[in-house]
């Protein structure tokens, strides 16, 4: 038997197999294996994990790695380093690159960059429509053959419901989930923050939750009609959560994600025009925020996704109206999630981790997010009690547009293994 890694004495939590015990994990040839013989163990590389949680490597369905075209914001190496530092071993990157990922050639380009630079597993998605312009369908079948795991128009929302119906029908033939950023542009009307008390006070153009609610309703209706799986990105409105809850109770094939920033912050954070709190959908009211936590608690929302959207400091350091939408989130997602769900006693640790591991993996049929024997040895070791306060220079990401700068998080990743290889070790990126 080849060399074995022995992760020793941690609290091993595998939500998929409902395992939660102080135990060991054994890795060989990049896979999780059963306890090997005593002779093999005597020669194993041991990793002391006492006091730590050993979780399946985290899975993020929503990141923007800016390749191709915007490598000043992020590259595959910096993006996957950020993932590893945050305990994520599998990430799904959105197709709103430059050019958008709407051809097999662009998907191949991304895969080549991933082969060269990546230190975690990267799964690309492709556009629903050509150029994400919402006018004609991109070649979904060819895009799947090239390696796309789902289709999405990235940060854009297909406004034409007739075309959306055709898109989901067509993609369903290939078993390709459709991922949607739900926004009715006639209602959001170039709003730069949530429409409500704070926008009224600041004179900033508001985007109402109804812009999201109406498009989510549309997607529910189209999914019900076609049977196609639609995954709703970054749900932020309490009405939308209620719409999803009722659709799921009728068996509609939809899934939904929430982001750590919508779980942690409300529109009040925008009061001093800090552009690190500008994203789309915007931070909503406190009632909306609490509804997200309830949606995670009762299973209406299936998973947590960071929405990791890097932008340089000079792009964000402008008037609020002109700043680009989005914040980075890979390195803070675990701590933020633990704060809101586990430390706040809403969920126990295994259920909290299920939202970051096998539940997101299942949505896109990724064979990830578990510590079962034979699975890829993607393992994250973290200290759930360790407090830390991110600074603008704390990040592995090329960008530092984080709303958690100077906010204390409880829960820190110590080591990350990808296919059995240690890629992140106590603050250091190893490999590539």
């Amino acid at each position: 038997m080849s060399q074995v890694t022995w992760i020793k004495g941690g609290r091993v939590i595998d939500p998929k197999s409902e395992r939660d015990e102080i135990s060991d994990i054994f890795i060989s040839n990049g896979k999780i294996i059963d306890r090997p013989s005593r002779e093999t163990l005597a020669k194993a590389d041991t990793i002391e994990a006492t006091g730590l949680v050993a979780s399946p490597g985290l899975v993020d369905l929503h990141v923007h790695f800016r390749v191709p075209g915007e490598t000043h914001k992020e590259t595959i190496f910096s993006g996957t380093s950020s993932a590893a530092a945050g305990g994520f071993t599998s990430v799904v990157c959105m197709p709103n690159t430059s050019p958008p990922a709407d051809t097999a050639g662009t998907i191949q380009y991304i895969k080549d960059a991933v082969d060269r630079e990546s230190i975690v597993h990267v799964f690309p998605t492709a556009c629903i429509t050509v150029g994400s312009e919402g006018e004609r369908l991109a070649p979904t079948g060819s895009l799947r053959d090239a390696g796309a795991v789902a289709i999405s128009d990235g940060g854009k929302c297909l406004q034409n419901s007739g075309l959306m119906r055709r898109a989901v029908e067509y993609a369903n033939m290939f078993n390709m989930p459709v991922i949607d950023h739900c926004e009715d542009y006639s209602l959001s009307a170039n709003g730069v923050m949530n429409e409500g008390l704070v926008s009224t006070k600041l004179g900033l153009r508001g985007s109402p939750t109804e812009a999201e609610d109406i498009m989510i309703s549309r997607d529910v209706i189209l999914s019900a009609k076609t049977g196609a799986h639609i995954h709703i990105q970054h749900v932020s409105s309490r009405n939308a959560i209620d719409i999803i809850r009722r659709a799921k109770s009728r068996g509609v094939n939809i899934s939904a994600e929430a982001t750590p920033h919508h779980m942690c912050f409300s529109e009040l954070e925008v009061s001093d025009f800090n552009t690190n709190f500008k994203m789309n959908p915007p931070l909503r009211s406190e009632e909306d925020r609490l509804a997200i936590l309830e949606g995670l608690e009762d299973g209406t929302i299936d998973c947590i996704a960071s929405g990791h959207a890097p932008h340089t400091d000079y792009e964000k350091d402008v008037e609020f109206d002109y700043a680009p939408n989005g914040v980075i989130g890979l390195e803070t997602a675990l701590g933020a999630t633990l704060n809101q769900l586990y430390h706040s006693k809403r969920l126990d640790l295994p259920r909290t981790l299920s939202l970051l591991t096998y539940q997101p993996a299942q949505i896109l049929n990724l064979n990830k997010g578990t510590l079962e024997i034979g699975a890829d040895a993607d393992v994250t070791l973290f200290d759930p009690e360790c407090e830390w306060t991110p600074q603008s220079n704390s990040f592995q990401s090329k960008s530092s547009n984080s709303p958690w700068i100077n906010r204390t998080l409880k829960g820190k990743v110590i080591q990350t293994f990808v296919s059995g290889k240690l890629v992140f070790d106590n603050g250091q990126i190893l490999g590539s």
Binding site: A189, N190, G196, L197, T200, K201, L202, G203, L204, D272, F273, Y314, D317, V318, E319, F320, D321, Y322
Partner: protein, 318 residues
């Protein structure tokens, strides 16, 4: 009077929301003192001699820009007004770089108008010199509110208990926002009135009344402030037509009679005669529109003076 009686410790004037009632009174007293000086034969003071005031106007303005230029001139400052629409920002320079360059050219104070809410607050954090907000999008226009309140203060002796209606496009109005903070801080009762699409209910949470019924909103008011219908902005779908607006919400003689008998008509300008106000009302004895403009000069002098570190006591002689 002790210094603590006329507090002002700010280098910047960004909003009325952040001012205390006492600070607003300090502005009033300083404004009154400058108004007296303006009445003299040599209407000039050396208060800002040797200082350079730069007006950065990223948005169109005549009245406010001229008032600030005039105010700085009357205070003996060197003054420079830059039309930023034709400058380096149109070449892609960021606001931070623009203002840091102007600072590097030895500006002592900056007056800024910009279409983006928060832009004045933003540059006040970038620069350590005084920054005065001359309008940031739909957020605030503090000197306008201070001159409006000063005008009412002169007319009525105090704003305490005054009933004031602000009528028109509230949603997109920085003047309405700055006035509602200043007026309520001074004890006035404020009613915002206009079409439901331009006067959202959210405003009620700021301690004012929201109404869409003109008659009841104007009843018993001491003053009505009209706002221009900004049809050049993106609110074309907020009401069917200018004609319809005038029919439903324009101020005319009949509607004027719904107010108190001695009520005053205010307007921050520019007025659209025949739209939000009948032409003859704009020129009627009840109109204080031109007094507002005159008070605007003394108010800007007061604000420049106070933000440059000047003491109210030094002018009022106490």
């Amino acid at each position: 009077m002790a210094t603590s009686g006329m507090p002002w410790f700010r280098k910047d004037l960004i909003s009325t929301e952040e001012l205390s009632p006492e600070e607003i009174q300090t502005v009033f007293k300083t404004t009154a003192a400058f108004k007296k000086i303006l009445g003299r034969k040599t209407a000039k003071t050396p208060s800002l001699r040797g200082k350079t005031v730069v007006n950065l106007f990223f948005e169109n303005s005549t009245r406010t820009r001229v008032a600030f230029e005039m105010a700085a001139t009357k205070l003996s400052a060197d003054v420079m007004s830059l039309d930023m629409k034709t400058s380096s920002t149109s070449k892609g320079e960021t606001l931070r770089d623009t203002v840091e360059n102007i600072h590097a050219l030895a500006a002592d104070m900056i007056v800024i108008r910009h279409s983006a809410p928060g832009s004045a607050a933003y540059i006040s954090k970038v620069l350590d010199i005084p920054v005065l907000n001359a309008g940031d999008g739909a957020h605030e226009h503090p000197t306008q509110a201070l001159l409006d309140c000063f005008t009412l203060h002169e007319k009525f002796g105090s704003l305490k208990g005054l009933k004031i209606a602000i009528l028109g496009d509230i949603l997109y109005s920085r003047v309405a926002r700055s006035n509602l903070w200043a007026m309520t801080k001074l004890g006035a009762e404020v009613t915002l009135v206009g079409p439901a699409t331009l006067v959202p209910r959210e405003f009620e949470q700021f301690g004012v009344t929201v109404s869409h019924d003109l008659k009841s909103a104007l009843a018993d008011k001491d003053a009505v402030m009209l706002l221009r219908i900004q049809h050049e902005r993106q609110n074309a779908s907020a009401f069917p037509s200018i004609n319809e607006y005038t029919r439903m919400f324009g101020l005319n003689k009949t509607r004027l009679s719904w107010l108190k008998e001695n009520a005053v008509i205010m307007h921050p300008g520019p007025i659209n005669r025949g739209v939000e106000i009948d032409s003859e009302l704009a020129d009627s004895p009840q109109s204080v529109i031109l007094e507002q403009v005159t008070n605007g000069l003394a108010t800007r002098m007061a604000c420049l003076y106070l933000c440059s570190g000047g003491k109210a006591e030094a002018l009022t002689g106490s």
